[in-house]
Symmetry: C2
Subunit: 336 residues, 2 copies
DNA sequence: ATAAAAGATGAAAGTGCTTACACTTTCGCA
DNA sequence: TGCGAAAGTGTAAGCACTTTCATCTTTTAT
């Protein structure tokens, strides 16, 4: 069943059928109804490929993320997908792992597939080295590139990010004010957001003339399988003489390890040991006491990201970079 | 840059270019190299829409799931996406929520988009009422439908499922043998897999002449936000006189609530209180002691699902239904 | 050496839609 | 009552590929 069949049965030209299909041009009510009747009777739907050929778009956006089964990334993908669908777009998902080359390859693949735009879901190991951003810049010459939780100043690339620096900075100050001694920052990677978090922690500690102590967990690569190993890591540090009573974690998984650690050490939380998570994920409910965590308002970020993208696709001028501040969701592991 | 440009620059016809592009027909080594050189020099990639029009496929599979941010579904989506990519297919993701109508609508949308097949990721509230399966059967007349963790006997629909009945049946028997009294089954929905789990529990209890006690958590709808509420629910039951020392949970989230409950009640786990989770998700590491859980080998299921789909797409005869057995991963919340 | 089979190539006809352009009809207003 | 504008409709030219079929060139077998 093609547009020709419909036009024939309705006694009009294919142009007219196309017009009623797209609501373009002008068609009299009478013929519109006649065509619509035929379309409904035969349950005709236009061929998406042909339409794509003609319009040079299939209303599809590519989403690239390292691992859609990661707690945080999964949420991001979910919200993005919802927003896109609400705007009449579909999404092609590409899970690339954390290798930069794989991301670049995925971008190429999506361009070949003729998507209308690409969303890179960040907060990973990407965007560290300026040179490596080349593939993003290149791609941006063909279609708009949206960066979630990553930033890059280049034509046709738009960033929306959470203000991780400010969130951690504020939180650290609060923990210091609460009188917790020896606050450490427990993190796993020097990702874009990881760097900003670290900087926030450092700034707060320095402001109060305290020595910063960032604890880097080397082996942990964004996967969350290994809370026991993380806990052992902390215990190991403890055994080698490092003592601390406050943990600012770069994500909830690490914070959970800290909770376990505190229990093992016999500290009482939050009285003599405070723990702050990040992401406000479902993990906050998975420990005793429940985890205080920073919510970076992912849904808001995604909503903004998509509305920006829609604007760009409609040829509007849009802000190149938007920053949203997070908030501390207080639960049982902190005094603030 | 089109195929015409390439053909011109290479001094051949477009048919020949098309042949080297697709490896179809036969082309002499010499001209093949010449064409390839031109293609590389100009970084030409064929237009996906035109190709789609000609081939009537764009090598894309639709994935429908209720909520890609759900722990289990996210993993499923991830594995499916990986497998598809490995086979040269892309995936369009549709998150529909748990409403049946939304699923049906998504199926229609994907068909309109001309995907080559649709994967319905199940274990939800779907497939309960025979009548409601109509949309699946209808869709199957147009393209192959793959069901993960759901089953339906109809032409052109293929199911791969985990043997939830057997897993729970075996586990319940083991818990009974371990001497745990008053074993309850803690679950949240009468989904396809939920029903089979319940049946497995019932069968084991009856076999040992024990009275089954399924605890249905009404408000919980597949979201995992509310572990505290689940815990309160158990405490409420306790306060109204219900005592038990073994929990078979229909997923890890519920099991986690049971762990919290056991701690609140002062039971020592696993000596006088046993808890068995389901899915072997990351949550197993999030409690003390760590959770024994049933692994239903999701990756294997997905792998098999995709290889079946690939077979179907290549016109091969494929098994309509495959069942995989799960296994108990023993950790700290059970004696077995 | 030669017929037949196999291999290489191109012309042209799809594939199903959009849309610019031209044409006809209708309408409002002078 | 006529005329210009606006509305309605059709023709035909894309859009960028695949593929059949016919033609020509090699190879192979006899």
């Amino acid at each position: 069943m093609t547009i020709y069949d419909i036009s024939e049965k309705a006694g009009v030209s294919i142009a007219t059928v196309s017009r009623v299909l797209n609501g373009s041009g002008s068609v009299s009510e009478k013929t519109k109804k006649r065509v619509l009747d035929v379309i409904n009777r035969y349950e005709y739907t236009p061929n998406a490929f042909a339409r794509g050929l003609g319009l040079n778009t299939m209303k599809t956006i590519g989403i690239i993320c390292a691992d859609s089964s990661d707690l945080y990334l999964a949420k991001a993908v979910y919200h993005i997908e919802q927003q896109l669908r609400g705007n009449g777009y579909d999404s092609i998902l590409c899970c690339t792992g954390y290798e930069l080359e794989a991301k670049a390859a995925a971008v190429g693949l999506l361009i070949t597939k003729k998507v209308d735009g690409i969303i890179l879901v960040g907060s990973n190991f990407i965007y560290e080295c300026e040179a490596d951003n080349q593939y993003v810049t290149d791609a941006a010459s063909q279609l708009p590139i949206m960066l979630l939780n990553a930033a890059l100043d280049a034509p046709n690339v738009y960033s929306v990010i959470s203000d991780d620096f400010a969130s951690i900075y504020e939180a650290t100050l609060k923990m210091i004010s609460a009188g917790i001694p020896d606050i450490v920052y427990f993190y796993n990677s020097a990702s874009y957001s990881g760097k900003k978090k670290l900087a926030g922690y450092r700034a707060a500690m320095e402001e109060k003339a305290l020595s910063a102590n960032p604890l880097l967990l080397q082996f942990y690569q964004g996967s969350h399988e290994d809370i026991p190993a993380m806990t052992r890591h902390l215990v190991g540090l403890h055994d080698s003489g490092l003592k601390f009573h406050g943990v600012i974690a770069s994500d909830d998984t690490l914070a959970l390890a800290a909770v376990k650690y505190a229990r093992l050490m016999g500290y009482s939380v939050p009285e003599d040991f405070s723990i702050l998570g990040y992401n406000n994920s479902m993990l906050v409910n998975c420990c005793e006491p429940e985890l205080t965590s920073i919510d970076n308002r992912l849904e808001t970020l995604c909503r903004h990201l998509i509305s920006t993208l829609m604007g760009v696709l409609n040829g509007k001028e849009m802000p190149k970079k938007t920053v949203f501040s997070g908030e501390i969701i207080r639960r049982g592991t902190t005094l603030f």
